[in-house]
Symmetry: C2
Subunit: 180 residues, 2 copies
DNA sequence: GACGGTTGAGTTGATATCAACCTAAATGGG
DNA sequence: CCCATTTAGGTTGATATCAACTCAACCGTC
């Protein structure tokens, strides 16, 4: 137990992070809390929606496409707060299985026109009552502040800065450290 | 516009999901809200933690391992509300880069003993002040109910049924359809 | 109408996520 | 001691997620 008092000062002193900090992060980190909640909810919805052949993400995506007119990719990506390239990837299996169609916008041939197929609509129709049931169950189990308060908080943290992944006009404005 | 009145009743009638339902899901679905918030927060923390060489998930994982005694995998998976097999995958790059060590529990050779290396601890030490800064900023920007209320809601939806992915004792009790 | 900047998407590579399936170690009866 | 059961993890295959990079179409200026 009684180590010699001298030690190598040239070696980096053994770093430590107090265990209290660990507890603090565990109990307060909103990012961690959000990831946990997102995982848990994703699992529950994935399981419930399995008879409809959809995952929670596919359900949300198809639902976002259920509108009178075809939509472009960026509005959809923004609605789901997901990266543009993630949307591209997410559409692949849905297009392969014939649930969505990707057309080209005649007015701007770079743009896409995303739309549901009959099959996609049918899957959605099967999924909606399942969603209603599970969502009602979950809302009912929420403590006092209630579902709407939770949604408000989630919206607040989801709003945030714009998604990038699009070549910025003038990358680092001047300082090397952008987030100082 | 005036189609003939007769049509194939054997063909599925063109399904529709009212646009109002789409708006309802978009505005109320807790799963969608959670995914959006999780994505947005993950992006912000990933970006902020980049100087520490960690993603938000790696930060949370390393932090979960910062304790006096090595931990098994299941407690960690449960703490993070992630699948057991996801944890296995998440540990791989961290072990490869020498931030964590996976030992074998001598008392039960099936079990693992997860622990931080000095390098992992050092990365954590770099990350903590970054986390504090960003987390404070985010908390400060939250509307009225406040951070603690949001966390309470997130805990409530994250609690939920246990994680499975472990051979159930008596799988489908009798009926073929488990989730009827 | 050609050039330069801008904008919309796809691709690649790395990691994350989980269901289904598999192996090995511990455990409890007989 | 042996076998059946349970329990701890790993593996595989599919999808999700995003940064960095690339290509192509638009758009304005001269």
């Amino acid at each position: 137990m009684s180590k010699p008092v001298f030690f190598e000062t040239t070696m980096p002193v053994e770093t430590t992070v107090p265990f209290g900090t660990t507890l603090e992060v565990r109990d307060t980190c909103l990012c961690l809390h959000a990831q946990r909640a997102a995982r848990a909810l994703a699992r529950r919805f994935d399981e419930a929606l399995r008879p409809a052949g959809l995952t929670n993400g596919q359900f949300s995506l198809l639902m976002a496409l259920n509108r009178p007119e075809p939509v472009g990719m960026q509005p959809v990506a923004q609605l789901l707060a997901m990266d543009r390239t993630t949307l591209t990837a997410a559409l692949k299996p849905l297009a392969r299985d014939g649930l969505v169609e990707l057309g080209i916008d005649p007015a701007d041939r770079r743009g896409r026109r995303l739309s549901l197929t009959g099959k996609g609509l049918a899957a959605l129709a099967v999924a909606v009552p399942i969603w209603r049931g599970l969502h009602g169950t979950i809302e009912a189990a929420l403590p006092p502040p209630g579902a709407e308060a939770l949604r408000a908080g989630l919206r607040a943290v989801a709003a945030e800065p714009q998604l990038r992944n699009t070549a910025p006009s003038t990358p680092p404005p001047a300082s090397i450290h952008s987030g100082l």
